[in-house]
């Protein structure tokens, strides 16, 4: 009954597989009913833990006590990181864990550590854009305005189009930074949701397929030497649809 690919299914659900390995699992799921059933159960568990189980929040009294404790604590001056923390972090950075993993699992690839940084970067950029005034540098629903503006300011010319008919209204563009490099951001509105589509030059080619961070879904894809990612709090299916529309535009016969 149990299939020996069961651990792949969990890693797939957890967004820990690279695009190739994720695709292989998707193919496998089409033909293996045991793994398909396992995936449904794991998704039900996840739904239960996120929606039914208690998420314990700090009450205001604790928040106030923490602030009082911080007020009392003398300014630390040259504070030192405790030894256990320093070594844990150095270990993480040095890829000690990755080596341990490679030994334990040879048949699929975990994403490189860099993708963690990337996901954090993009989530932070998205949060900044929706929390501040800096969502849009150039406000326009006309791709003939947004595209040249991005080309001039971000040195990139990603596909830009208004997909109002398909539910994604182009609202503008801005320049942001991803992974220390300049990125062209196209901003869409889908119902009440803002979707940021980042594009940046990436010749290394290794991207995660998708990720979820702080409740935001992120879908990645690569087209030529450009990496793309769409991030929003909308459903992941909607992001995949937008990415499909944009990918079609990059095809040789796609209309630009």
């Amino acid at each position: 009954m149990a299939c020996d690919r069961a651990s792949d299914v969990a890693a797939y659900l957890d967004g820990e597989l690279d695009a190739t390995a994720a695709l292989a699992v998707e193919h496998h799921l089409e033909s293996c009913s045991a793994c398909a059933a396992l995936l449904r159960e794991l998704e039900a568990l996840r739904g239960g833990m996120r929606q039914s189980a208690s998420y314990h929040r700090a009450d205001p009294a604790l928040r106030a006590r923490v602030r009082a404790v911080l007020d009392e604590a003398a300014p630390a001056g040259k504070a030192h990181m405790p030894q256990w923390l320093r070594s844990a972090w150095a270990g993480a950075a040095g890829g000690v864990m990755a080596t341990a993993l490679a030994a334990s699992l040879a048949f699929f690839f975990l994403l490189p550590a860099a993708s963690d940084v990337l996901v954090t970067d993009i989530t932070n950029a998205h949060l900044r854009s929706i929390a501040s005034e800096h969502l849009i540098d150039v406000a326009s629903t006309d791709r003939h305005t947004v595209k040249p503006w991005l080309a001039a300011h971000a040195d990139l010319s990603p596909p830009v189009a208004d997909f109002t008919r398909q539910g994604f209204r182009l609202v503008g563009g801005r320049v942001d930074f991803v992974d220390g490099a300049r990125a062209a951001v196209t901003v869409y509105r889908h119902g009440a949701h803002i979707i940021n589509v980042f594009a940046w030059t990436n010749s290394e080619g290794r991207l995660p397929q998708f990720a979820t961070r702080n409740g935001y879904h992120i879908v990645f894809w690569q087209s030529g030497n450009l990496a793309f990612c769409a991030i929003s709090d909308t459903a992941v299916d909607e992001l995949l649809e937008l990415s499909r529309l944009l990918k079609e535009m990059s095809l040789p016969d796609g209309r630009e």
Partner: protein
């Protein structure tokens, strides 16, 4: 408020809920979770200069977990020399599973309460990885760093924890559904 404090307020304090949630699931008691979180935030504040940027939440949660483990080790050590009554009180406090308040229970589904009880009954090494993965949505790598084990161990603990949950929670949900039909 000086600059360092302001940075701590804007970077670390927004994750107080995440810190409390982890502490609450580890200690299984509101009072113990309060103590652990206060201790952890103070340690984080002292170690803040050593934080090298990136996502602060896993860094903070690692401190929370470490505070819980050292608090528990302390109470065990003290427990060995404590008077019988004190010893009872102490272990009683640590082991007691304090459920949600009655008001909270009234509006929560029985399914949620049951799931809470099942999660609380999991051995700690499975409970912590499940909380970090499913509630905090951390990556295997981040969980490995927080729990100080290799990624392979994180994966096997997740698998084991999920298997127990499936059996104890989904199994019951399904059998209840069958009873309902009959």
């Amino acid at each position: 408020m000086d600059d360092r404090r302001r940075r701590f307020e804007t970077q670390a304090l927004p994750h107080l809920d995440a810190a409390f949630n982890l502490a609450r699931w580890l200690t299984r008691s509101d009072a113990d979770a309060d103590d652990v979180v206060q201790d952890a935030m103070l340690r984080a504040w002292r170690a803040f200069d050593g934080f090298r940027g990136g996502d602060i939440r896993p860094w903070l949660l690692a401190i929370v977990r470490n505070c819980w483990r050292s608090a528990r080790a302390d109470s065990k050590r003290r427990g060995q020399v404590a008077l019988p009554e004190e010893h009872m009180a102490m272990t009683g406090e640590v082991l007691q599973f304090t459920g949600p308040s009655p008001e909270a229970s009234a509006v929560r589904s029985s399914e949620g309460r049951k799931l809470d009880a099942v999660i609380a009954s999991l051995p700690e090494e499975f409970r912590e990885v499940l909380i970090l993965r499913e509630m905090e949505e951390l990556s295997y790598r981040e969980i490995a760093t927080i729990t100080a084990v290799p990624i392979g161990t994180v994966m096997s603990r997740l698998a084991r924890g999920r298997a127990i949950l499936r059996e104890k929670w989904l199994g019951d949900v399904e059998s209840e559904a069958h009873h309902g039909v009959r």
